[in-house]
């Protein structure tokens, strides 16, 4: 029975990874850039949620929405200021800029408020619920429900709305999309906004679940979410969800076997195996190399 508990824990962690991974995968799909700063938007989201809850005394859901809106704005600002000029630059230049933006956000945050920890207030009811004889914490269930709702919302936006259609068109072929009258710049900004909003939501959920947040908290989850995106096939939205869940479960299983110190290594080993064996990921399409 303990196994099912571990599995639920793994799925909760995995759903946080999945939310961050969605932003990575959407941005990569549309402009082929690994947005290293994404993990730091996640961190900013956690802090915005924290300040909303402690300063303005709002509940979990309003904090989640405030954080998502502000993170969407931050994401668009990052894109417009730093990445927009690099559309025609080499991939390496864009990647280096992304790393620079990531460090800039982290250390500006540390510069203004110090590197210390903050403890999230108890915003979610923390009781154990018996499900078929297994006690599962209500936090995990709530987080899972919120994550699933956000993912359904994302699927709806991507597949049923006009902006979603534009996003899919731009990621398929930006030049052709421009010829068809799609505003490519706005579509890319919208992608950043949606991805960053999801990262902001993941930040608040992370804070509510683990209760400890700090300015460098985005680094490791950011990298792992990227691994999740690669695992699922980068550029593939359902792939990112599955990749995040798989990674969360694998990490929990490794910890449960008593190798908790090796947990982070497990994620990177998965990454290297997938890159070597099947670089297109579990659900990715094979792309032919063009000259």
């Amino acid at each position: 029975m303990e196994w099912i508990q571990q599995l639920v824990n793994g799925i909760s962690v995995g759903s946080i990874y999945a939310l961050i991974a969605l932003g990575y995968t959407m941005v990569y799909g549309i402009i082929k850039l690994i947005n290293f700063a994404h993990g730091d938007v996640f961190m900013l989201g956690a802090f915005i949620g924290f300040f909303a809850i402690t300063r303005w005394d709002v509940g979990f859901l309003p904090a989640l929405i405030i954080s998502m809106v502000l993170c969407a704005i931050i994401g668009v600002i990052i894109e417009r200021v730093a990445y927009k000029r690099l559309r025609s630059a080499t991939r390496i230049a864009a990647l280096i800029t992304a790393i620079g933006v990531s460090f800039l956000i982290e250390y500006t945050m540390i510069f203004f408020r110090g590197p210390g920890l903050e403890t999230y207030p108890e915003v979610l009811p923390n009781t154990s619920i018996d499900v078929f004889g297994v006690s599962v914490s209500s936090k995990s269930i709530l987080i899972l429900i919120v994550t699933i709702i956000l993912m359904i919302l994302l699927q709806f936006i991507v597949h049923k709305t006009k902006i979603g259609k534009a996003m899919r068109a731009v990621s398929l072929d930006a030049d052709a999309a421009r010829l068809m009258g799609i505003n490519v710049d706005n579509t890319i900004s919208a992608t950043f906004a949606i991805g960053s909003a999801l990262a902001g939501a993941a930040g608040v959920i992370f804070g509510a679940y683990y209760t400890r947040i700090e300015p460098l908290m985005g680094v490791l989850p950011g990298l792992k979410a990227f691994i999740a995106a690669v695992l699922g096939g980068i550029g593939n939205i359902p792939g990112a969800m599955v990749g995040g869940l798989v990674l969360g479960v694998v990490e929990t299983v490794v910890s449960a076997f008593g190798f908790s110190l090796w947990r982070d290594a497990a994620a990177f080993i998965i990454l290297i195996l997938i890159l070597i064996l099947k670089p297109s990921g579990l659900f990715g399409k094979n792309t032919r190399e063009k000259v």
């Binding site: 082929k32 790393i99 691994i227 990177f268 080993i269």
Partner: protein
């Protein structure tokens, strides 16, 4: 004839710098603080040049260079502290171990390109760090106590050796192959260049000298910890190469010297240092994506000035 003449000019130049600094150290003009900055500068130059061969010459984007530095640091520390070998031998052991690690990491990952390679090297560096974190023989997270053995002589010889080997590599047949890969990998492949071989060779040489720098680094302080060799360290090395110019050896040396001085002045304000570093990185990429020197070397300037001359 001309090349060997240039070689002796550089050797004499290096000897002059070495002697001046050595005299200043012996004479007491440079106290321990400045000596430490100089040694730190040498280590950073070695790291910058060893990454320059991977990123600047071969065009393979590796952001896990601190991992090889960690291998060199730990293996040489084990050799001196646990096996009681002399420092000189320990440095060689560290460099060889790092080179071996570079070979092991390079063979599978160098098939990847661009972003994927970057992430894979980052992943390997993190795995190396986590392995050292979990081995009690080298002290785990608490770190390993190391005696201070590094002197200005060791550090400077290390720098000269690194620059000498890597400059020669760049001008050799291998270097031309590597540059061809940087310019266009598919075209290089079509021209009959064994791209995988040259990439792995360049990567391994880079790892060897990162390991040498790691060995010198570990014996410069009294303790080494796995956290020292995290992604931040790789980022530090990356910024030397990027700021100096992707493809310019002298550029990465100048950037390493300059940024070591900057970080020494800002050592009490680590956050400010990181903010400046990241801003510099973003601004360089936005306004001068080739770095300050581009692919030019500082010696090109001299050549330009003495267009009619016969020197060099």
């Amino acid at each position: 004839m001309k090349k060997s003449k240039a070689f002796w000019v550089y050797i004499i130049f290096a000897l002059v710098i070495y002697t001046i600094v050595q005299v200043m150290i012996s004479g007491g003009t440079l106290d321990l603080y400045y000596q430490n900055i100089l040694i730190q500068m040498c280590i950073n130059i070695m790291l910058a040049v060893s990454l320059h061969i991977v990123i600047g010459i071969t065009g393979q984007f590796s952001i896990g260079h601190a991992g090889f530095m960690a291998v060199g640091a730990y293996f040489s520390a084990i050799a001196t502290m646990n096996l009681g070998l002399p420092f000189f031998v320990a440095l060689i052991i560290g460099a060889v171990a790092a080179g071996f690690a570079g070979l092991l990491v390079g063979i599978p990952t160098l098939r990847l390109k661009g972003d994927y390679l970057a992430i894979a090297t980052l992943g390997f560096a993190e795995i190396i760090r986590i392995v050292f974190l979990n081995i009690d023989y080298v002290g785990g997270a608490a770190g390993m106590v190391v005696t201070n053995m590094t002197t200005w002589t060791f550090a400077f010889v290390g720098v000269v050796l690194t620059i000498f080997v890597i400059a020669n590599f760049t001008n050799s047949r291998h270097g031309r192959g590597a540059i061809a890969i940087r310019e266009d990998e598919i075209a290089a492949d079509a021209m009959g260049i064994n791209t995988t071989y040259y990439k792995v060779v360049a990567f391994t040489i880079g790892a060897i000298f990162a390991g040498l720098a790691g060995g010198i680094y570990s014996h410069n302080f009294f303790i080494i910890q796995p956290t020292t060799f995290n992604f931040l360290k790789s980022f530090d090395i990356l910024i030397y190469v990027v700021l100096g110019g992707l493809g310019s050896l002298s550029g990465s040396v100048i950037a390493a010297i300059f940024l070591t001085i900057v970080s020494a002045y800002l050592s009490n304000f680590p956050e400010t240092r990181m903010i400046i570093y990241s801003l510099v990185l973003i601004l360089v990429m936005l306004y001068r994506p080739t770095g300050l020197m581009g692919t030019k070397e500082i010696t090109h300037l001299f050549k330009f000035g003495k267009k009619g001359g016969s020197k060099v």
